[in-house]
Amino acid sequence: MQGATIRSRPVYPGLAIAPFARRHIFALEGEGAGALLDIAGDLTPEVLGRSQILYVARGSLGVGHHGALQNLGAAFWAAPTVPPLLGRLDVELSRSHMGTRLYLAGTEGFIGQAMQVAAAHGIDPVSVITEHRGSLARRVQCVHCKGVTEGVTTSPFLCSHCGLSLFVRDHYSRRLGAFQGVNIDAEEPGAVPPPEELYL
């Protein structure tokens, strides 16, 4: 299981329906659709009637899941990119009451960002049901300029904000929903090893 050796990284146990929830909100990104489709057998008419599915076919090879998700029969909304989906999730959570369960599936960067939205509504991260699907790409915060780069698949990589070459440290902040990037050639500027594709 990935990440078991990084103690600051969350564990993503996998989607499982909480049968007694009054409302189910599924926020799915890319291959995260498969996490819900794989447990479609657990989606009773009663559960589906209380469910809202938010989906974005981005981040990894998720195109083509729209139809399958829509056919489940729950309320369904597809976002064009991640930010509108997070905006919609924010609205849905602001109108939610006790007994709402949140399910997140997709890349780690997506889960981390959706978790930030949930945290802003006072939802305990432990109560959110998560499953990592798709790319191993990392969301990385540059410790120097504080800019976040999405979809990082190599280490080192160039910070998309300040341009420094960053080594991806195995250290994850839930608050920021990101790994830490640290300048790799600070001691000898220019001495940057070739990037390795570690997080495809």
């Binding site: 600051s8 994850y172 839930r174 608050r175 300048n183 600070a186």
Partner: protein, 355 residues
């Protein structure tokens, strides 16, 4: 015992010095003997090494529980400059306000008790008056009412206390790093780590987690009692006497590590010791974690013969993984070679204090 040791530590004057630029920081002969040398034997051994934080040997860094020394004003000036450039070095999550007041009270009381010629705390119910003579502060405020202080209580008192400060909240059987002012850290980011639990916060440390060090430390700390603080020493090395060796500013200080030569070891290489103390807080049940850093260049270390003999022996036995984590790899051998010239091979006495 205690031969050659100065009497009670009572700083009267403060050095005019810098931790950047021309790096004019240095220790007076008295302050060298004040230094908390961290090695009690000639070999390196990894341990949690926690002991009760009780007043120790007069003249040493252990004499008073919150130590103030000749670097006080210069450190406060450096801290103010770091905060002006990067306000994220101070963080406090909203639920930590009570722990902030606990901390303000503790740091004012301890400093006023130990150094009455420098600090005075007058309490009249919740009307408090705080006098800080070195910094020229004389403020009256209402304890518990943040609007009566110029800054949040933690922000206010940390700008008047030597050492980095972290506040931990205790809940769910864990300790959560939920506030702090960290301007002199050995390469960890408060902005990144704030909100983490004890295990998450220490995730990048090698070897120790596998040894169960943090599990044991957490179990111990969760039971920390009010009025019974504990301490431990930690250490690393820093090139040039730079307090702000933050990851944020790594591109500024990282190149220093390539500048060590056999000729400049004595001036450039500094032993950096953290006297870490942990205190239970009375109202919030939180925990105060003071990380007080002391730096001493190799030229100064070898003025104490016992330390000059012991340090190269310890450095030689340090596992490479830890040397790498502490960032010593580039200059460890150069430093050992230089120090060896001051090691005549004589046995050293047990314990950390000078003979």
């Amino acid at each position: 015992m205690d031969t050659g040791y100065s009497a009670t530590h009572r700083p009267e004057t403060f050095r005019d010095e810098t931790f950047r630029g021309e790096f004019s920081y240095a220790n007076s002969p008295e302050n060298i003997r004040h230094f908390p040398f961290p090695f009690h034997e000639d070999a390196y051994r990894y341990s949690v090494n926690i002991e009760p934080h009780v007043p120790g040997r007069p003249g040493s860094a252990f004499e008073h529980l919150i130590d103030v020394d000749e670097h006080y004003l210069a450190e406060m000036a450096d801290r103010a400059q770091v905060l002006a450039e990067d306000p994220l070095r101070y963080q406090a999550l909203p639920h930590m306000m009570l722990a902030q007041w606990d901390t303000l009270e503790l740091l004012m009381e301890e400093q006023a008790r130990a150094y009455p010629h420098l600090f005075t705390l007058e309490r009249n119910g919740d009307q408090w008056r705080w006098i800080n003579r070195p910094l020229g502060i004389d403020d009256t405020f209402t304890f518990g009412d943040p609007s009566t202080l110029p800054r949040e209580p933690l922000d206010y008192i940390c700008r008047q206390t030597q050492g980095d400060i972290a506040l931990m909240d205790q809940r769910d059987g864990n300790l959560w790093l939920d506030a702090g002012m960290i301007t002199a850290q050995a390469d960890w980011s408060l902005d990144f780590d704030v909100g983490m639990n004890f295990h998450e916060w220490h995730a990048p440390v090698p070897l120790a987690p596998q040894m169960g060090v943090f599990d044991r430390a957490l179990k111990y700390l969760l039971n920390l009692q009010l009025g019974k603080p504990v301490r431990r020493l930690n250490w690393t090395m820093t090139i040039n006497p730079r307090l702000d060796t933050s990851p944020e500013n790594y591109p500024k200080w990282g190149p220093d590590r390539t500048t060590v030569t056999p000729e400049n070891v004595g001036q450039k290489v500094h032993l950096r010791v953290e006297l870490q103390s942990l205190w239970r807080l009375p109202r919030s049940n939180g925990m105060l974690f003071v990380i007080r850093s002391y730096m001493m260049r190799m030229d100064e270390v070898v003025t104490v013969p016992k330390w000059g003999r012991r340090l190269p022996r310890v450095l030689e036995t340090l596992p490479e993984e830890l040397a790498s984590y502490k960032g010593l790899s580039r200059y460890r051998q150069t430093t050992i070679d230089w120090l060896k010239r001051h090691d005549d091979g004589a046995p050293t006495s047990p314990g950390i204090f000078p003979d």
